[in-house]
């Protein structure tokens, strides 16, 4: 890349340099040949040394006067000529150089090589984030606040500039380029040994598809996470092993359906996927009955399908029913006017979903519907992140915020892959099971969203624990959850899942034994993870937790006690 730049410079500097050399040759030679006189009035020509000196200061418009002797008129005439000639040559050469530096292709070469160098310098595992819109902003910020680094690619130069102005925890190399080109992905470090995966977040499905396939072909080990709006694309992406495809409309509809049939499972889901420290989500109880759904686009369709599956009847309002292939009985209209809502029998409905792609319309529907029938369960789709304050003020029961929904999913995929397994189990368990778990979790965490983390029982992930287990000691889940500062106290955390090979142990009992090589999923109050680390990594702390014995344990003391 850099070599190329040098060749471009050299090639384009040829003509200006030749002009300079020729000008200097002609003017210096001419000045030497002009007859002159010395101080004594004897004829004497200038030497090459003096001529070069004079031309140097003349050409650069410095001008020191007539040296070493006053010039003859012939010499003056030549210097006059030289001045015009050499100044033009200099202007031409400098102009050419500046034009070269300002040249877009040339600058592009520099920007790209600087970007590539920044990517090479990354030492942490990193994700390549393609598309820096609302979702990308949230994802990148959360990634760099955690243990990851990120590289950003977006087509839009202004978004890249916005990123540069942000105060992020780590430097994030960013490039304005087309991420669907394999070259761009390679430049962004697709084959970098620390590259952990690619996250494609463009609103355009086709671009995401191209990114996913290039990433999977060029580096099959990478984790590829994609956003998809249509089912075709989703199926297509899954067909070539894309690790996760996130369809924001579908996952929201799925969660609403979950809230309908088991509100506690939904609540647990919300808690575990929230970012730690967020205020705890409230339990929502979507009523069963007839719902009014405004807007039958991609979101509306996904919602209708899931609600239908739950056995909830819906009245659909849609402005252009033919275009979106709406079912029979669809009420034509925008849903923002009272007439349309009445036509959809809002007075008989229990809930309303404002699901068009226009935030102003959605809010207007909600306000109108509330006036017609107070006490409705209100769900709205928020399209623009900037409108957050409005949607908050509207006092909705549930807001579908696309970017946040996607960002959350991605973060749980990236930071705690084991959580996905747990959530899959959660789906199959009953609402009572979830309610019980909530009952156990709530006293531990007070009013903040819990921290969810994974512990690998390996020499690197929990050195002291792994060593103890390898020596044949037995450690149970209950022992592990004792506070290492006072073993009669319990840590404010619980074990959600143990993964042992392919086997998964859901909510292990206190006497369940831990084995070396296990992967444990914990959930608990913020800070509990750090306290637990003490038990996991510190031999003394672990010994205290297991046996209650504390005291010196160095080689010398053990020998003194006659232990070997």
């Amino acid at each position: 890349m850099n070599n190329q730049a040098i060749f471009v410079i050299l090639r384009r500097m040829r003509a200006p340099l030749l002009a300079l050399i020729t000008t200097y040759a002609v003017t210096v030679l001419g000045l030497v040949l002009m007859p002159g006189v010395n101080a004594q009035g004897e004829p004497e020509r200038l030497s090459f040394f003096h001529a070069f000196y004079i031309i140097t200061y003349t050409a650069t418009t410095t001008g020191f006067g007539e040296l070493p002797h006053p010039f003859s008129d012939a010499q003056r005439a030549w210097v006059t000529f030289s001045m015009y000639l050499s100044i033009v040559a200099w202007l031409y050469a400098i102009g050419a150089l500046i034009a070269l530096v300002r040249d877009p292709t040339f600058q592009r070469v520099f920007v790209e090589s600087r970007f590539a160098a920044a990517v090479r310098r990354i030492r942490e595992p990193f994700y390549i984030v393609c598309g820096y819109g609302d979702t990308g902003t949230v994802v990148v910020e959360a990634l760099v606040n955690g243990i990851f680094s990120a590289v950003v690619i977006d087509r839009d130069e202004t978004r890249i500039n916005e990123l540069a102005l942000k105060d992020l925890a780590r430097p994030v190399p960013a490039l304005a380029a087309d991420a669907s080109l394999p070259d761009t992905l390679l430049l962004a470090g697709l084959e970098h040994p620390r590259c952990a995966g690619v996250i494609a977040l463009y609103a355009d499905d086709h671009t995401n598809l191209k990114i996913a396939i290039s990433a999977k072909l060029l580096n099959p080990q990478l984790q590829v996470i994609c956003r998809a709006a249509s089912h075709d694309t989703q199926a297509n992406m899954e067909s070539f092993n894309t690790d996760a495809v996130i369809n924001p409309f579908d996952s929201f509809a799925d969660r609403l359906a979950m809230a309908l049939h088991s509100p506690d499972s939904h609540l647990l889901y919300e808690w575990l996927t929230a970012s730690p420290g967020e205020p705890l989500a409230r339990r929502i109880n979507p009523p069963r009955g007839t719902w009014v759904l405004c807007g039958y686009g991609r979101f509306g369709k996904a919602l209708a399908r899931h609600m239908e599956y739950e056995g909830v009847s819906m009245v659909i309002i849609e402005a252009t029913p033919e275009r979106v292939d709406a079912p029979e009985g669809t009420v034509r209209g925008r849903g923002t006017e009272a007439v349309t809502l009445r036509e959809a029998h809002i007075e008989r409905a229990v809930g309303i979903v404002a699901g068009t792609d226009d935030d102003a319309n959605n809010l207007s529907m909600i306000v109108t519907a509330r006036m017609l029938k107070p006490g409705l369960f209100m769900v709205a789709r928020q399209n623009q992140r900037e409108n957050e304050a409005l949607f908050e003020a509207a006092g909705l029961d549930l807001v579908m915020q696309r970017s946040r929904a996607i960002a959350r999913r991605i973060l749980s995929l990236v930071s705690t892959p084991l959580l996905i397994h747990f959530l899959r189990h959660l789906r199959h368990e009953s609402n009572d099971w979830a309610a019980q778990l909530i009952g156990r979790l709530q006293p531990l965490i007070n009013d903040e969203a819990p921290e969810v983390w994974t512990v690998d029982v390996t020499p690197g992930g929990a050195s002291a624990l792994h060593a103890a287990l390898s020596e044949g000691q037995s450690v149970s889940c209950g022992q592990l959850l004792s506070d290492p500062r006072d073993r009669d106290e319990r840590l404010r955390a619980l074990i959600l899942l143990i993964r042992r090979g392919e086997e998964e142990l859901l909510l292990p009992a206190a006497d369940a034994q831990i084995e070396a090589g296990d992967r444990l999923l914990f959930a608990g109050r913020r800070g509990a993870a750090r306290t637990l680390d003490l038990t996991l990594f510190n031999v003394h702390a672990l010994r205290y937790v297991l046996s209650g014995a504390s005291g010196p344990n160095g080689a010398l003391w053990r020998w003194l006690r006659g232990e070997a």
Binding site: F7, L10, R11, R12, L17, I21, T22, A25, F48, F49
Partner: protein
């Protein structure tokens, strides 16, 4: 016939011949070595160097390298000359002339390599 090639070869060969012309003569005799000839050699060499800029072939790179070597030798010769005459004030003594001419001789060698490479390239092209 390619006019660019003509100009290119012309300057390379001219650099060699001028350099040779300056080099010819007794090594320590300033009478045998003309200042105008040195000037012309430097200018032609510089032009030849710039003409070789941006050639991406292996041959182009080697040609550029030899030219840079020749420039270095010749400019050093000119600097020694200027230093002896105007800074040290010793004038062109036999030993100073010998230094100048031997520097030019080194440049001559580099220029000769250039021309040989040029001939090799041309003969390869024919086949």
């Amino acid at each position: 016939m390619n006019i660019e090639k003509v100009i290119f070869s012309f300057f390379i060969v001219l650099a060699l011949t001028l350099n040779f012309g300056f080099y010819l003569g007794e090594i320590h005799n300033p009478e045998h070595h003309n200042v105008y000839e040195l000037f012309a050699t430097i200018i032609v060499n510089l032009i030849a160097t710039v003409l070789k800029f941006g050639e991406r072939t292996q041959m182009g790179a080697v040609l550029l390298a030899t030219s840079l070597v020749a420039d270095l030798g010749l400019i050093a010769a000119a600097l020694v000359w200027a230093y002896a005459v105007y800074v040290a004030g010793t004038g062109l003594t036999g030993s100073v002339t010998a230094v100048i001419v031997s520097l030019a001789g080194g440049a001559l060698l580099a220029n000769a390599v250039s021309v040989v490479l040029l001939v090799v390239e041309i003969s390869l092209l024919r086949r």
